[in-house]
Every structure is written in structure tokens, then in C-alpha cells.
């Protein structure tokens, strides 16, 4: 990956309900296609299952106990230490660094600026319709508008006639076009908002998931021996208009079974809507001819409970809340297509594409998002930041996560063996 560009895609609240992670229900052809050209980590975990602490952790390469950010209300550079970030490191090494959408959590925790100008070469882009995210934009059965949790929408009726993630994709595509003609290497981070609540997405995606195909979680009850301190009462869900109307008891609920199915249906639909955005973005990377010179990283800030253990959010240490998708596409390393000039990521329509694909390489090693800093540095051929000493409050550049590139090799060998066994024909293998 020496000298390559980096496209860093981070999704909000996405647990690995993806075809490439073995989910049989979801339609995620574009992310699966990316996985088929990537090394996929099956056991990747965030350091804390809430947005700001998780993002600051993996963007600085330090754990929450070092960033001292466990909530949303402090900026690590003044509250803990003036730590470097991944994009800052790339910027200081000659890259043009750009942020589109939700990369840092907005607000105090990124100094109301997404850490600009430390981390970014140009001011971060936020979609103009982001501000309507929590407005009453969901049409109820009575025809009135509500701030619902379950919120399939007619996009043409939305403020501005669009949705934030659609705008982010458009801006990222515009930036790719600009970078096409520049000689400078780039680090483009694109942060998608969905499937974070509210589950607001174009209503046509509901068609992919008929309600009769939607099951409850395999364990929708609060486990008998779960210590009360481990349980989260999903307050943000309770505050939405449609959930409020259900008068669910506090703290354990449960939600009615039918409503549980509606939430799960909409989460899946929002994932397919996200998949479409990722597909359009990767297709644009092909269009500008940069697929063979750009490392693509795909991950999420943390997972989300879909009713398991009687929970409906993140805010816990359960695997469903902390486990994330993580994959790296490195031209010439995870795929042999570098330099061939063909299309690597043709857009796949989730409404018509049905074939699943298996990843080229897969690693079952336990890995952590805090390792992203050193891993990306190594993949791009930059010097890997040193390991942090025991106390690193005054160390600007170090990392608490070891590079996981060492796991790529064994995965490559497995992929090679698969090929030798006749399993490189993904359709056959699937």
C-alpha cells in the first residue's frame, strides 16, 4: 500500500448484519463486494459502545482511559493530552485530508470543529439536512408528522428533498473527482449516519424486508443472571414518539413483539440504504480510476442491540453492542486486480442483485478499533507510531493499538489455499 490514497468509511451504529458476515436476511451487495476484495476481520471490537468516546479512541489510537472521554463533554486535546489523530498524521505526512459527514462526533468532543484544522486540510463537510435529523419528519397513520423511531420516508417530501447520507455521498464523489486530477495523495474519511436512530430511510427499502420474514432476537429477554449494572435502559429509544406511545415500563420493558419486529425490519432497511450509498461511493472511486491506488477501510463506531437481552441500543459491553464490521481493501495485497484497469466496484442494485460473495481473506483474530492508527500507517507505508508508554498524557504521537497487518499474511495464505481448492469461484463456494 506504499504511497496509496486512503478512503476511510465509518458507519454509525452498524453491527455486522451484512451478507459478508453471514447474515442470511440482509441485502448488502455492495459492502459484500468490497469484502470480496478485502481482508475481513470477523472479530473486531470497539473500545466503548457510544459514539464520541469510540470515535475519539480509534481516531487517536488510544483507549478511553487515556483520552479520558467517556461521555460527550470534553475535548481530549485540552482535557487529557494533545494527542495526534490518524488524519492529522497523514496530513503531516503530505496527504490532503478531508472529512465528509460524521467522522468525529460533532460538538464539544471534537472542539465544535471536527478537530479542524489539526486533522483536516479543508473544513469538514456536513450535509445541510443533518439539522432535520430529529425533527418531526415521519408520517404517521393519521397523516401527521412525528419524531418516530421507525421512519421510512418519501425522500421527495423531506426538507431539501434529500437525506444527509445521500448528500454525503454526493460530496465525497465530488471530492474524488477533484482529487483525480491532483497529484497529491489523499485521506478521505466518509462518515455515514445510518443505521443510527431515528431509522429514517427511503421507504422503498422496506420492500426488501417483508414483515413476515422478520424474526425476534433469539434471546429477547433480560438474562436471569445479568447484573443490573450491566443493563442499559435504552432511554433514547423511549424518547421517540412511536415508542413513547407504547407506555413501556422502565427500566426493563419489554417492547411488544410486533414493535420489536418493526424496529428490526427498519434497521435492516436502513442497512440496505447505507449499502446503496457505499456502493455509489465505491463506484465513483472506479469512475475516477483510483480503485487501484486507494486503500479502502470500512468499519463502524460500535454495534447495536436488536432486542438481544431485552436491549435496544448500544451503551453496554455485550458483543452485539461492541462488535463491528472491519475490512481492508489494499490493491495488490488483498486482491490481485491492481493495475489491470478493470472495474473493481461496479454498483450493485440491492433490489435486483441476489448473489452473495465470500471474502477473499478472513481473519478470526480478536482485533480492536484502537489498532486502526498503526494499521493504516503501516498499510500506507508511513512510519508506524510507537507504542505508548504506561502513562502517555504528554506524548503527542504514540498508539495503544498494535498494527494488525501481521494478521493479513495468514489470511492471504488461506485465500490462496481456497483458490487452489477451487474455491476462488465465489458463486460456487457460496
Amino acid at each position: 500500500g506504499d504511497g496509496m490514497n486512503v478512503l476511510f468509511i465509518v458507519v454509525d451504529d452498524l453491527r455486522p448484519v451484512l451478507g459478508c458476515y453471514g447474515d442470511k436476511l440482509v441485502k448488502s451487495p455492495n459492502i459484500d463486494q468490497l469484502a470480496s476484495q478485502s481482508i475481513v476481520f470477523s472479530n473486531a471490537y470497539a473500545q466503548q459502545a457510544v459514539c464520541a468516546p469510540s470515535r475519539v479512541s480509534f481516531l487517536t489510537g488510544r483507549r478511553p482511559d487515556t483520552t479520558r472521554l467517556y461521555d460527550f463533554y470534553s475535548y481530549w486535546r485540552v482535557h487529557a493530552g494533545n494527542y495526534s489523530t490518524v488524519p492529522q498524521y497523514f496530513k503531516e505526512n503530505g496527504y490532503m485530508t478531508m472529512s465528509v459527514g460524521k467522522v468525529f462526533h460533532p460538538g464539544v468532543s471534537s472542539n465544535y470543529s471536527d478537530d479542524y484544522p489539526y486533522s483536516w486540510s479543508i473544513p469538514p463537510f456536513h450535509p445541510s439536512t443533518e439539522k432535520y435529523e430529529n425533527d418531526k419528519t415521519c408520517r404517521g397513520k393519521d397523516g401527521r408528522l412525528y419524531a418516530n423511531l421507525v421512519c421510512p420516508v418519501d425522500v421527495t417530501e423531506m426538507p431539501g428533498g434529500t437525506l444527509p447520507d445521500i448528500q454525503s455521498t454526493e460530496e465525497a464523489m465530488r471530492l474524488l473527482n477533484v482529487m483525480k486530477t491532483k497529484k497529491q495523495k489523499f485521506f478521505l474519511a466518509v462518515g455515514y449516519h445510518k443505521p443510527h436512530i431515528p431509522l429514517r430511510y427511503p421507504q422503498e427499502f422496506l420492500k426488501l424486508y417483508p414483515l413476515e420474514n422478520i424474526t425476534l432476537a433469539p434471546d429477547p429477554w433480560v438474562p436471569e443472571k445479568l447484573p443490573p449494572v450491566a443493563y442499559n435502559p435504552w432511554m433514547d429509544i423511549r424518547q421517540r414518539d412511536d415508542v413513547k406511545a407504547l407506555n413501556v415500563s422502565f427500566p426493563y420493558g419489554p417492547l411488544p413483539d410486533e414493535f420489536q419486529r418493526l424496529i428490526r425490519q427498519s434497521y435492516y432497511a436502513a442497512v440496505s440504504y447505507l449499502d446503496m450509498q457505499v456502493g455509489l461511493l465505491l463506484n465513483a472511486l472506479d469512475d475516477v480510476g483510483l480503485s487501484n491506488s486507494t486503500i479502502v477501510v470500512f468499519t463502524a463506531d460500535h454495534g447495536w442491540s436488536l432486542g438481544e437481552h431485552g436491549e435496544w441500543a448500544k451503551y453496554s459491553n455485550f458483543d452485539v453492542a461492541t462488535r463491528v464490521p472491519l475490512m481492508f481493501y489494499v490493491p495488490g495485497m488483498t486482491t490481485s486486480s491492481a493495475g489491470q484497469g478493470g472495474r473493481v466496484f461496479p454498483y450493485l442494485d440491492p433490489f435486483s442483485h441476489i448473489l452473495g460473495v465470500v471474502p477473499q481473506g478472513r481473519s478470526n483474530k480478536m482485533v480492536e478499533l484502537v489498532s486502526l492508527f498503526s494499521t493504516l500507517a503501516e498499510l500506507a507505508g508511513l512510519q508506524v507510531p510507537p507504542a505508548c508508554p504506561g502513562t502517555s498524557l504528554h506524548v503527542a504521537l504514540c498508539t495503544e493499538g498494535a498494527s494488525i497487518v501481521r494478521y493479513f499474511k495468514s489470511s492471504e495464505q488461506k485465500a490462496q489455499k481456497k483458490k487452489e481448492d477451487g474455491c476462488d469461484d465465489t458463486n460456487r463456494c457460496y
Partner: protein, 93 residues
């Protein structure tokens, strides 16, 4: 043998769920749940946490969780207090 491990943590304001259990502010944090997971298990201890000096007191354990992934992949059966697994717990600690 080299065993890969992943850590996570989550703060709580109290031992029982309350309105700010999901997102306690720093000054409200009293307990921190530290998790260590391998392919085989997830082990979590909820310990006293001091938000003034960011210190965790592992001598003051409020609760614990231990899930054995082979038999309980969904993490529904907490065996932290099960003496059958005391050997594994000792090894972890």
C-alpha cells in the same frame, strides 16, 4: 501460545438502571465495566471508578460477568458466580 484479546469498557452512574445509565456525564460516573474477550469467553468486571482522578479500583468489584462462547454464543448465561468456572476465573485474574 499467543492469544489475541479485545478490550472494551462502559461507565455507569449506579448499580441499578436509572435515567442516566446509558449516557452518564463524567462527574456522574461511579462504576466502570471493563471487558476482556477472547474467542473463548467474555469476562467483565464492574468496579468502582473515581471521575475526579480517573482511577478504577479493581479491589472494589460491584459485579462480574463471564460468558463461555462455545456453549453460550449469545451471552445469556452469566457463569461468573458458578464455581465450576472458578479455575478459568482465577487464570484470567
Amino acid at each position: 501460545k499467543e492469544e489475541s484479546v479485545a478490550f472494551s469498557q462502559y461507565p455507569r452512574p449506579a448499580d441499578i438502571p436509572q435515567w442516566n445509565s446509558d449516557k452518564p456525564k463524567l462527574k456522574e460516573i461511579r462504576i466502570m465495566g471493563y471487558s476482556m474477550r477472547t474467542i473463548d469467553y467474555r469476562y467483565t468486571v464492574w468496579v468502582r471508578f473515581n471521575p475526579e482522578n480517573f482511577s478504577a479500583d479493581f479491589e472494589d468489584v460491584h459485579a462480574g460477568e463471564l460468558y463461555i462462547m462455545e456453549t453460550d454464543p449469545n451471552q445469556d448465561n452469566n457463569v461468573y458466580n458458578n464455581t465450576l468456572h472458578s479455575h478459568l476465573l482465577k487464570k484470567i485474574v
